[in-house]
């Protein structure tokens, strides 16, 4: 590239409230079309919106987590446009008085920390969805998403590469997930971004003319569309052409973008204050209540895990992939007093089990005290590693205390020498070939016999003790 890339992002995130933003319909994805609708979210004549306070709290929470100033006085506005996905032909949004403004989010690029400015975060309602049915003449509309609360996070043009844009988007996603504000399921469209991109010669202060790439719904698309658009613009500039200000649509399958409308065709939204809703006054008490609910954010946790718990950077990143995992880790580490062990158990066992589940869930299915107790049992040599995993399988999805289960399942390590001797005798008797192999100097035979013995001890034998006893017996033969 001969030019510097300048990127600003507008990120839309659906909020995880139980109900929609202006009515009591459930805020659910994947329901049969138009089953989550009512006269209010369908904008039927005479109906009126009522503000979902939780949605406002979530917007404030997102703002606080992104270091924004929260406006004490805000209002909602009407954004007018005709499209069949919008029942009222206007979207209730915020124009000049958004809930949050002037914040920032930190990203790390090439080992350097960089702040990306947040211009504003405002609340609005989502629109329905048009389904172009290939078997039917015409288009069908699904209004289930109509009225789902949405925040729009508008960044400053602070990013200098598609890579930075992707990192910023990741950082925002992580914050929204940790605060519980949004589930950020990009494949379901609950997090999407518009990328504003322009080029300028290195060293120039003024920005070039930007284009806006609409509705990118994966991190990969943000990255690819960013590189493609930068290349397209540079080719234009090198060919001596101007970049017209326009809105473009990214086709992820083709890997290229198309012009949707030019600046001249830009819509006039005719914003004006929403007369059906009263202004929102956010007082200190409300603000403090939301602030109290803010969890420690992933960036802070990663630093703490590395600096005070001695967890390697890579592991710290995995442990903070979701707040459920991070909370589980902290609680388990606290109970067992061994952060490294807790980390190993989570990365080795818990995350794998979660991945293998048929239905994707953010819940690990085990509490910190449960996992911590299992780790203590293993670390103290009360049960073997194998028994520990078995115990884990039984405990997951229940609220049972592993201490109780350990005896019920009879998992405690077998140290009775008589019992071990008896088992070894049985094993040797059943496997004369292995004894011959051993005597012929084949080392593998010990492992085999060891496995047989441990099997008969149902994994409860202390491996060291069993091995010593076995070798002693073999030598004595």
């Amino acid at each position: 590239m001969n030019h510097e890339i300048v990127i600003g992002l507008e990120i839309h995130a659906e909020l995880r409230t139980a109900s929609k933003v202006f009515c009591s319909c459930a805020n659910e994805f994947g329901v049969e079309p138009n089953r989550r609708t009512c006269p209010v979210c369908l904008g039927m004549p005479g109906t009126l919106p009522v503000m979902n306070k939780k949605a406002v709290s979530y917007a404030i929470k997102a703002g606080l987590a992104m270091n924004c100033t929260i406006s004490s006085f805000s209002k909602m506005d009407r954004k007018n446009y005709f499209y069949p996905d919008m029942c009222k032909a206007y979207q209730i949004s915020q124009f000049d008085l958004p809930f949050c403004r002037d914040g920032y989010v930190e990203i790390e690029i090439d080992g350097q920390k960089k702040r990306i400015g947040i211009e504003r975060i405002h609340l609005e309602e989502d629109a329905g969805k048009l389904n172009h049915d290939p078997f039917a003449q015409g288009t069908l509309v699904d209004y289930n998403r109509c009225g789902v609360p949405l925040i729009e996070i508008v960044s400053r043009p602070d990013m200098r590469s598609p890579e930075e844009a992707k990192l910023f988007m990741e950082a925002v996603k992580e914050i929204l997930e940790f605060t519980g504000v949004s589930d950020c399921k990009m494949q379901e469209g609950s997090l999407r971004a518009d990328v504003n991109l322009s080029l300028r010669p290195y060293g120039q202060k003024e920005f070039g003319t930007r284009t806006e790439m609409k509705n990118l719904n994966s991190l990969r698309a943000v990255l690819r569309a960013g590189y493609a658009e930068a290349a397209r613009q540079e080719a234009q500039i090198l060919a001596g052409k101007n970049i017209p200000q326009e809105t473009r649509r990214w086709d992820d399958n083709k890997g290229e973008s198309f012009s949707m409308r030019s600046k001249e065709e830009a819509m006039d939204y005719r914003y004006f204050p929403e007369p059906d809703l009263v202004p929102v006054v956010i007082n200190d008490a409300w603000l403090e209540a939301v602030r109290k609910e803010l969890p420690e954010l992933p960036q802070a946790r990663r630093v703490r895990y590395q600096e005070t718990l001695g967890i390697p950077a890579y592991d710290a990143t995995l442990l903070t992939s979701t707040i459920q995992i991070a909370d589980l880790f902290e609680s388990a580490a606290d109970i067992c007093g061994n952060a490294k062990a807790a980390s190993n158990w989570i990365m080795g066992e818990i995350l794998r089990r979660m991945k293998e589940q048929e239905e994707e869930s953010l819940e690990p299915g085990i509490s910190g005290p449960q996992l911590g107790t299992i780790i203590v049992l293993v670390e103290k040599g009360e049960i073997t590693q194998t028994s520990g995993k078995k115990l884990l399988d039984t405990v997951i999805g229940t609220e049972v205390d592993p201490n109780v289960l350990v005896d019920r399942l009879n998992l405690r390590i077998q140290r009775d020498e008589g019992a071990i001797t008896a088992v070894i005798a049985q094993v040797l008797e059943k496997n004369p070939q292995a004894i011959l192999d051993y005597q012929a100097g084949k080392g593998k035979a010990v492992g085999f016999l060891m496995g047989q013995a441990m099997g008969m001890l149902k994994g409860k034998g202390d491996p060291g003790q069993v091995k010593a006893a076995l070798e002693e017996k073999l030598k004595a033969l």
């Binding site: 004549p45 109906t47 503000m51 007018n80 809703l277 009263v278």
Partner: protein, 497 residues
Amino acid sequence: MELHQMPVYVLAEKLKKKELGARELTQAYLNRMQTFQPEVNAFITVTEEKALAKAEALQKMLDNDQGGSLAGVPMAFKDNMCTEGVRTTCASHMLENFIPPYNATVVERFQSAGTISLGKLNMDEFAMGSSNENSFFGPVRNPWNGEKVSGGSSGGSAAAVSAGLAPFTLGSDTGGSIRLPAAFCGVVGMKPTYGAVSRFGLVAFASSLDQIGPLTSNVKDCALVLDTLMGYDPKDSTSANVVHEACFPAVTQGVQGMKIGLAIEYFGAGLNEEIKASVYGAVKALENAGAISGECSVPATEYGISAYYLLSSAEASANLARYDGIRYGHRSEAATDMQELYRFTRGEGFGREVKNRILLGTHALSSGYHDALYVKALKVRRMIHDDFAKAFETYDILVSPVSPTTAYKIGEKTADPLQMYLGDVYTVAVNLAGLPALVVPCGVDAQGMPIGVQLIGKPFSEKKLLQAGYAIEAALGQLVSPMASQLLKQAEGSARI
């Protein structure tokens, strides 16, 4: 006294004492409707069967000393209030066959009070108009003179009461739509304080101005109906969460020492002399009852009409954008693509005046004009609000005419919309300031058409307005239209007690 001439408070009492049957009363009104509805065209939809069935049910409750405060009293709703299972047209081709699956909050409130709905009342299309000539279902004719307009937009609501076709009705008022027809038809009408009555289920014209209110034949009835009407509704964020003192018991408490202001701007050029004299007569009546009057000024009133038509049309342009033929209402058969579906549906579905307002409102909000039109109108609104607040530092009530003229001939002003808009000069400021205002008849002109007087109060001072209104009514008497004096022949089933 004929049943249809009895006040609501008397009917409610007689029904409770079983001196009168709900079915008999409902039937009496339906009988009058047979004769007079074709003449006045006050109703768009008459729900005869539902009304009789409801009367039957309520009579059973009354027999067991049950039922709400207005159990068994017939009434009717303006056709912009949603009624579950009964079509709600807004007098528009667009919603000609729209049947809401929900009730407006006011409909719920009156159902709980035990009233019987006779049907849905004619109006200007989407409540846009001052004469009720902008109805898809034809104009409402004034019960005092069938050649004259009823006033609008709640023309059906006023005419029905005036003609004795309903004991009381509900109308809506965005810029004078209850008060103007009340004055033209010689009945009592109240536009309550903005926020006093729920707007949920009222098909929106201009959300920041719309307010539902009662139309009755007398002031006491107005108070009684208002007591059922007003109240907080969590479904309407702009409804006021306040406790409303009951008005009905306080109506007759008098006006001793009440301070009455006459704003000079409301008595200037353009006001018909007969109306001026009549309004002064009402002021005199108040003085005789112990009130003290004086002059005051509401200077920003001058800009009221301009601000009102900009703001109400701006809000309407958004409120009426949802009628696109996709989910309900009229849908053009001729359209072949999406753009045409919008254009044809709206072109066919809306009447001329509605289109005028949508265009005006869209223009006022458009980029490049927004500040000069919409924002400036908001500033005027604030000035008017402040002017009134200042006047109310001295006065309890402001008295004014309702309209520069009495009811005019049908068709007389339809060619000149601007002339028509100017007829709202005394009413729109009240909506811009969110104030309550009561209209009470105070005389008739030389042509025998009714004249009304407007009483404007501070926010939530409905009770005081009703006290003053009652004092005027007590001194000057109620008006009874020729049609209401007309009795049905015995064969037609008029009941007499």
